[in-house]
Symmetry: D2
Subunit: 503 residues, 4 copies
């Protein structure tokens, strides 16, 4: 043990992932497809998001691919559910604009400069009102864009229509088939007389498609911006394998995004997700939270504040000590499993809650997952004949033991925050702004600044994203005096911290 060394090996789930990808390349089944995308795809169909059903268009069964549609300017370079829904979508975009002041500020600043003049961006993300604000911002900064959906369920048809109406070549609708999915991506990329020079990806499917089908395109591509955990891992794999042929920017691990997507967002969504599904009262409830990373910290803080008694499990002694200092008893799951009212997983690990744990839980215990993947609770172990499943609400199952004991399982063990609550626009604004800045940085970087590797967003950009969001809170930043900057050895405009700073 006196040997302090320790290297990160390639984790199994990344290896599995590589295997899946192999599989996927042959001919993805619908299931296979979804397991490659972000877990949001699995849950977006039955999410509470009111936005998901703006208008009723379910009666129209014709595939968009078979429709002939033109926008009011006569263009038909798009494929959406129904171009006539554009007006409704436009209103949604306008409302989103009001909540995304950072992108609007970027538009203003760029009025003269056009830092993306000449950029030809192909994008593959969820298509929502917030994405639309991003796309129209990229347009205002000078870029041309073509766009597909990164998930077969998450497209808001009205928003896609509004984008198409205002001239964006968008290829996406809610309820695409697997075949549609790739067809849409291909329509974005494979265009007569237009070649992308930037990629904005969420999950890596677009990047993967170009690698497979149009590898030569990379000659003109200046960089890839990738947002998702999965996509980032794919990029690191490519890089390790020496196959990454353009610079890529990992915007998933920027400070601002991490803190908002995890700590601050989960602090609120754990309460929201539990309330919407179970109407439970938090006060006095005993809760065990598995994992005390950013997500676990957020969950614990919120529940403690609402009067719950919270226990924590951890494998990492440093996080464990933090849990202690923050006032949570650190236990093994077995020690408290019989007494708790709620079990929440936030580990990124697998089989943290096993069938054995589930067998020992008390009646009415609520079990849910806030972590990275749907592996944390061994849900498969509950699909056995002696147990009865009863769907009591959307996203809520009672699993009933022979003796009548009921476990309340939320979202079938998938992410509670994505399935049963909504992501605030403010968080999406931070992500979108980060993406925009990363595109600008890669597109404008002088020759040689970035090699064929995966980069984190420069800290200065990270700080800039934060600064663009401060006006939302009427927050006033202090500026260093010259004397102070000199004293600290800092540039007055930042970056203000060394890279290893922990915030």
């Amino acid at each position: 043990m006196w040997d302090g060394a320790g290297a990160f090996q390639l984790p199994e789930w990344m290896i599995q992932f590589a295997d899946q990808k192999q599989e996927f390349n042959k001919r993805p089944s619908k299931i296979g497809r979804r397991s490659l995308s972000r877990s949001i795809s699995q849950s977006s169909t039955d999410s509470y998001s009111s936005a998901a059903s703006y208008t009723d268009s379910s009666d129209d069964e014709t595939s968009p691919r078979d429709k002939q549609q033109k926008n009011s300017k006569g263009s038909s370079d798009f494929c959406v559910k129904n171009i006539k829904q554009a007006e409704f979508g436009r209103r949604e975009i306008e409302i989103a604009e009001q909540e995304m002041p950072a992108l609007m500020a970027l538009r203003k600043r760029a009025q003269g400069e056009k830092p993306l003049a000449g950029a030809k961006i192909v994008g593959c993300t969820h298509i929502t009102a917030q994405t639309a604000v991003l796309m129209e911002t990229l347009g205002a900064l000078g870029a041309q864009c073509r766009w597909a959906a990164c998930n077969i369920y998450s497209t808001l048809n009205e928003v896609a229509a509004a984008l198409a109406e205002s001239g964006f070549p968008v290829f996406a609708w809610k309820g695409e088939s697997e075949d549609d999915f790739w067809w849409c991506i291909d329509r974005c990329v494979n265009v007569e007389g237009w070649q992308p020079n930037m990629i904005l990806d969420d999950g890596g499917d677009l990047t993967h498609w170009i690698y497979k089908k149009y590898p030569n395109m990379f000659k003109k591509i200046k960089g890839i911006v990738e947002e998702s955990v999965t996509g980032v891992h794919r990029l690191y794999q490519l890089s390790k394998a020496g196959k990454l042929c353009v610079p890529a920017m990992n915007v998933n691990d920027s400070v601002t995004k991490q803190k908002f997507d995890n700590l601050y967002c989960c602090r609120e969504s754990i309460l929201d997700g539990l309330k919407r599904t179970t109407d439970m009262m938090f006060g006095g409830k005993q809760v065990v939270v598995c994992g005390y990373g950013e997500v676990g910290k957020g969950c614990c803080a919120a529940l403690k504040a609402m009067g719950s008694i919270v226990y924590v499990t951890e494998i990492d002694p440093i996080c464990a000590l933090q849990a202690c200092m923050d006032g949570f008893r650190l236990v093994k799951l077995n020690e408290v499993i019989r007494q708790v009212d709620i079990v929440i997983t936030c580990t990124g690990n697998k089989n943290v809650v096993t069938r054995e744990h589930l067998d020992r839980m008390k009646n009415s215990c609520i079990v849910c997952n806030m972590g990275h993947s749907n592996t944390e609770i061994d849900v498969a172990s509950l699909r056995t004949p002696e147990l009865t499943w009863e769907r009591v609400r959307s996203q809520v199952d009672h699993v009933i033991w022979p003796d009548g004991k009921r476990i309340v399982l939320l979202a079938e063990g998938r992410l509670l925050n994505l399935s049963c609550s909504t992501v605030p626009t403010f968080v999406l604004s931070i992500t979108a702004t980060t993406q925009a800045l990363a595109l600008i940085e890669l597109y404008n970087a002088p020759e040689g600044r970035y090699k064929q590797d995966v980069y984190l967003l420069p800290k200065k950009m990270d700080e800039y994203v934060a600064s663009l969001h401060l006006p939302t809170f009427d927050a006033h930043l202090t500026e260093l005096t010259d004397e102070q900057a000199k004293y600290l050895g800092l540039n007055k405009n930042g970056p203000f911290k060394p890279n290893y700073y922990r915030y």
Copy 2:
């Protein structure tokens, strides 16, 4: 602004420091001397620490250097105030042992192994009961030690006596002169028939002395372990200048130490320091905290919890956004200076509170500093003829304006937490354990693991320090199963996080 690059320049205070060192090398004045040591030295004389005055030995005016003392085994290889105080000091050490279970656990584990067998450690630190537990642990692990004080005021004479009595060559007493200070260090290093092979330093004075006087000693020295901000900077300077001739371990920046010394410790000491000095009530008070790093976060959380209304100032937009999300209004100091009841600085910067701010504060406003150095409040600007200073208690001055307005200045702008509250043994235990592990690592590292450079404690060690402190809280860590470890790509014994993880 599209240029994301930004390098850390050499900060002014490090340049100043280098200048001071020059000065210092010539012939340090008493003032010069203190400005080189940690700020604790400036305040320890009048601190509240009850330990500082165990027994009354102030009547004995003979210099220890002029005394002939022997311990009960006949040795006189030490120099302390009064060897007869050993018994009292021993009891203090025994009490401290009860609160430092991690070091006691190390002793037990090492009973067979003796990982420091053959080590000859020369140390220069504060000499307190906690240090004594560290020294005796190093002894139990097989090391020989010689020790001096890193501060002319902070030695507990009784503890020094107890160490001398049990055979440790200790050269230290409370109230050394500058000359005494260096004489003590020299007596540790310059010994017939004994050459150190490890250095444990706190502030860099010991290291500096050996560099100047006995550079050849470094041939046998396997490494330096340095704890203080100041000492670490000296080492990085040496390294940059290519003059560092042995590996050095920076234990100041380990996760555990940082979180405990800053966030968790300050969360408590801000309340303690304010209460002991002013007996004020926190409820309803308006407070502005300058700086939202770990120290600021701790101060803000504590005061908010006690019912204060807290404003924050920041220069870094990321920390600023964190303050917003944590529920604090982000302001410029000028906006609130007229209305606040308390001003607390935690920036590490200089002149954060200027005379102009002080002029505008309301009557009875309390001003104090929790940051890195005593430069944050421009105290010098208050030493002008039109203002009257009135010492109302130890560490508390009223500065009175001509119109009768009083400002309550604590610890003359030096660190409130060190001057007016005490550091809990638990925090000292973490530091001491980190030091012990760093010594073990450097002493046992295979050839080539460490070069002539400054290293952070390996994460695995950091985690090990944390794990040794969990039993204090009866905290039970979960172990990964083989399957889980494989899934995550982790070794079951850690390290559990990548180096960039932010905790």
Copy 3:
């Protein structure tokens, strides 16, 4: 001002209420009717409560009054929507039983005793699964019950069917007309060969009906138990006017009910109501809460914990001082109205938020009411031609000013907690248990204990309700030793506090 005296005058809204009652007696319009019932009635139609639409029976347009239905035992002494829905309703009741352990405990304790043997209770409350558990508990304690709904919208048809199936004469369905409403009440009261001797009322309509139509019945009635604010005020009016001819128990003001309905429940429902309607993020938001009573205290605590910056307005200097000590800036609404993101009223007062305030709010400001009535926000003032109303979701209106500014008005100013979140079963359990104990107390009280007046629940009963709910939390109460009870001058079984104790 040296005169400390001050008497409570009859408040205007009670006088108004008396006027309305006059009106109401003539021939209530549908609107008039609803304004007399608890505000839940106004909002229950479009509430989020999933329970409100268990099964789809909306296609059956025949009035229940025109149907011929029999339960499986051949009885037709009931009138519900559809007796065939009984099975579904029974499952809901069984689930509710699991969350109402106090009533289940009462059933067990009463197995031998039957404290309600001989009681003939006529009830008029919301008819939900929780009410069903109460009714079946009263039955188990020996009582005969007949039941109508206190609200024309809130009946769960399936639950009513289940009660009818198991033999309870229930007269209620969702969507009654005004005429139906009184017909149902009359069918409960006016029965051949059965006369009620106890009344359980919620809102006072049942009591009122008997006063008007069957005043002679009061000769046999031992008491009235009333739960609502409105009904309690009606009783105090009757009492003042010397017209109350039986004892009445005000269970609305018991400690347990007050704390749970207000402080603890609102602490959670403010977050829930805001999230479900707006998906907003709380962190960093500026909020003003008008009123710092129990409801305001709950709202403030929750929002502060979620990272909002909270301001408070108050008229009562004692509550104001509490707000200060709890860390909230006490302001006048005008001082912050331009800067806040959310305005929440919890005053019980009228026109706390005026049109002038609304005109000055910033774009996207959210306005909602958590207080007693829907008078707190002057919503009427917004129904002017120059403002556009846009319904963006159920319970969410955008009110749009000519310059494009939008105010987000929730639940049209009605109670957010009742309209946009659900009341936890645990809170309903406390109320139901209190009602059961009040019935038992009044029914069993020796002659002369209660006169023709309105009483609070005896403290010992209040304590008993609390004690029945402790097992939910696995909470273990300490018992006084004989010696301790004597020392304190207390009975070991309580009551433990003087009546003026403030908790």
Copy 4:
């Protein structure tokens, strides 16, 4: 149990008290005397209050009774330690004035009115700078005052000197004997040509003395204002016994005083008391708090906020349920006694912590009392031969078991908040203002408003005290409009709540 009735019997400790008083009347020993006064008297000698030793006058051994002193105006109608210390005392009074704005505001308002013109007040309280501000306020309102100390240790000699110098007949010094104590009181009361018409008492000794020695004086006395728990009980006993011959005002139970003395003050003083005595770290510590009244609520909230894990014991199921909802596990002491790091009593009960509990505590467990009396911990049971007591600091004893286990007992089981922390001036300001208003009310009340009984402060006065303290927090109260006042049935100036309101 269906019988809801329950009357408060006379508690044993009041009976004991009555016995003690008997004892006391014969000829109180020094111990007996102290056990009758407020517990502050027991601890004030070794308190941390820096104010207790402003100047060194300990060398002067002459009894003040034997000295001939005159103030600068030639008066010798006083008896203090040393009239020459007046200047120092005056400065302390001036500083206190700045922190007691409510009394200063009263002075201003009364400039014309003099509501105490003609009042002759005899007072017996702690003599501190804050009391001096009260006395000089009473003077400014028109009263004549004569004053003695209610505690033989708590007088600040410098303040007494300053009062004497400015013309107040003060009879008090630090370190009075029992005989001195009564002599001083007698000198206040028994004066040629001056008869008191108001009594301000703290503990009841002054009232008692007049009852015994000068019962005829009550003919001219308009009322008694009593502040302490003990004194209030004495008054209720007199009232019960029909021997109270003037109206008395119980200012101890006013809302403002209760919340500040208990909830808000203890929230801070528990942390302060523990830190000053033990320098412990709160984070991660397991604590059991016995009793969840106002004091327990304050302790629990503070420790939870500092990261401790807190358990609660309770006998009252309502308070127990509150503890649950606030997030604390409710346990019996036995369940957690082996595992906790700190035991805090706040019950007002006796033998809550028994020798058996103490035997089972773990090593280094800290035991302290925040409750009403020093009976809560059975300290007497620790004074047995097998246990060793070691005084390690002022107010800190280690009690050592034969096996080496140490318990850390604070303040020998007396009140931690009074012994080891200080009461903030703000709290004293609330008390003093309440006393002043009560004197004004009783003195000005029209004939017949108050009978020979004990009264609570009228709510309007309570609200007025609160309102006078709002400016300290720059808090802005909202005023009711006429329309709103009418709607609520309230007078615009209050009182705003019914008497049973719980705050």
